[in-house]
């Protein structure tokens, strides 16, 4: 067993030249994909709960289709198809953003569907009794409660999403893992690089999931 780390690898140079750029992209991708995914996921969930077959069916096919394919394949698909559809090449980063919004929408839609169904029927009837339209009822009565009930689950999915951003490696987008990989190759220290990447991912995800756990307790008590 000859295991020794070259600690001089960890210096400000590494952070400023390789890590910050990648971490920035990972975080940006997480935030954009979460917001976009929740928005389109809510639309998909409303389609599935609409009771109209022509809305329900395509949404169901989309959600189940996305959920049965590996994310890496989806990333590859979009990287191949999006340039064909819009007729000009887009970068790996832009392709990754579009992919993650489309992919996460399927997962967030399942969460939102459960959230909307967790709101008691009486709430919907109360809204209707007040003369609210479907839109008003959803916006003012149902969705706020659905979001609140599902907040911990939505955040847990966001943590998974943050971990999954490392998969943009497949198309060579420059995320945090890529930053460490490039640095590891440049300085011939892959071991130190991957260890550091693991530590940073762990710290971020562990801290977030700890916070979500506490949030969950808080929400559970008031209800």
């Amino acid at each position: 067993m000859n295991f020794s780390l070259d600690w001089s690898f960890y210096n400000w140079d590494l952070i400023s030249n390789f890590v910050i750029k990648g971490l920035g992209f990972s975080l940006m991708l997480t935030v954009i994909a979460t917001l976009g995914g929740i928005f389109f996921g809510t639309v998909l969930a409303l389609m599935r709960l609409s009771g109209k077959k022509w809305l329900d069916l395509p949404a169901t096919i989309y959600v189940n289709g996305m959920r049965s394919i590996p994310l890496v394949m989806v990333i590859l698909w979009f990287f191949l198809l999006v340039p064909l559809v819009i007729g000009k090449p887009i970068g790996a980063e832009m392709s990754a953003i579009i992919t993650f919004i489309a992919f996460e929408a399927a997962y967030f839609s399942e969460i939102m569907r459960a959230g909307i169904q967790s709101v008691p029927r009486g709430q919907v009837f109360a809204g209707q009794a007040l003369g609210m339209t479907y839109g008003q009822n959803m916006r003012l009565v149902v969705l706020p409660q659905a979001f609140r009930n599902m907040l911990p689950v939505l955040l847990t999915q966001t943590i998974i999403l943050f971990q999954d951003t490392s998969l943009v490696y497949a198309i060579g987008a420059y995320d945090m893992l890529k930053g460490f990989e490039v640095a590891g190759k440049n300085f011939g220290r892959p071991m130190e690089a991957y260890l550091a990447a693991a530590v940073i991912y762990f710290v971020i995800c562990f801290a977030l999931s700890y916070w979500v756990k506490r949030l969950h307790k808080k929400i559970a008590i008031i209800r």
Partner: protein, 251 residues
């Protein structure tokens, strides 16, 4: 756009179309290659599943032991450790870091490393399911075992685990399907499973859409098969009258 499905019948070296679509005498066509890639995906997934089930059940059970705080803490640490690092990073760790700590691992192939990485990664998730399955059982079950004079081992073996397994079959089904999906990450260390095949064949032939469609189809077939097998198992082991508490869903 025009389709060119014939590319699957082409030889991978000289790109000539082979009769019958399968190569002979050691030559392989893209169809041969894809089927063998599917085989790799299935073997990585199944081996990792076995490892994940064994480790996951042990760790999950350790986390529910009473009056053993350090064992529980070890189990919790295990789960947090493997759950909070992305699978791809874990695979790189197995590939680049573990062999320098344990020189014996140097001669181990990428295939084995991927099975280990995927297996341990999934073991954390299965441990979490097993723990919640055991804790979902009424406390009286454990006490009943104790009242019968069972040792802790016997209580788990004959009372708690058989019940807990039936409760967690639905989440285990989705974990099994997840293993198949997650095995795609093996492309990163050059195991020629389906995703690796898709990337390379796309590059060589330029027929990305056909290749991706075929590979996506195989993934969907695999996922559907798993789903049916698990549904069959669930039906076979069902105990009449045992209503699984809180067994809804999983994701």
């Amino acid at each position: 756009m025009n389709w060119d499905w014939q590319m699957f019948c082409e030889d991978t070296l000289d790109r000539t179309v082979r009769e019958g679509c399968f190569g002979k005498d050691g030559d392989i066509t893209y169809l041969d290659w894809m089927l063998s890639a599917w085989g790799w995906t299935v073997s990585v997934s199944l081996l990792a599943l076995v490892l994940a089930l064994v480790v996951g059940v042990v760790i999950g059970t350790l986390r529910t032991l009473e009056n053993r705080p350090w064992t529980v803490r070890f189990g919790n640490a295990w789960v947090e450790f493997f759950r909070n690092i992305p699978l791809l990073v874990q695979i790189f760790i197995w590939y680049h870091v573990v062999p320098s700590i344990f020189p014996a691992m140097k001669s181990v192939s990428g295939f084995v490393l991927v099975v280990l990485a995927l297996g341990f990664f999934t073991s954390a998730r299965i441990a979490e399911q097993v723990r919640s399955g055991i804790q979902a059982l009424p406390r009286g079950q454990r006490y009943a075992g104790m009242a019968m004079g069972f040792t802790t081992w016997q209580t788990y073996r004959y009372v708690l685990l058989p019940n807990a397994f039936r409760i967690i079959i639905p989440p285990l089904t989705s974990e099994t399907m997840n293993i198949f999906k997650n095995s795609s990450v093996a492309f990163a260390v050059s195991v020629t499973e389906l995703t690796m095949f898709a990337m390379q064949a796309q590059e060589e032939t330029g027929r990305g859409i056909e290749v991706y469609l075929a590979v996506t189809g195989l993934y969907i077939v695999s996922a559907f098969t798993i789903n049916r097998i698990m549904a069959f198992i669930e039906k076979r082991v069902r105990v009449p009258g045992l209503v699984a508490p809180g067994a809804a869903g999983g994701h």
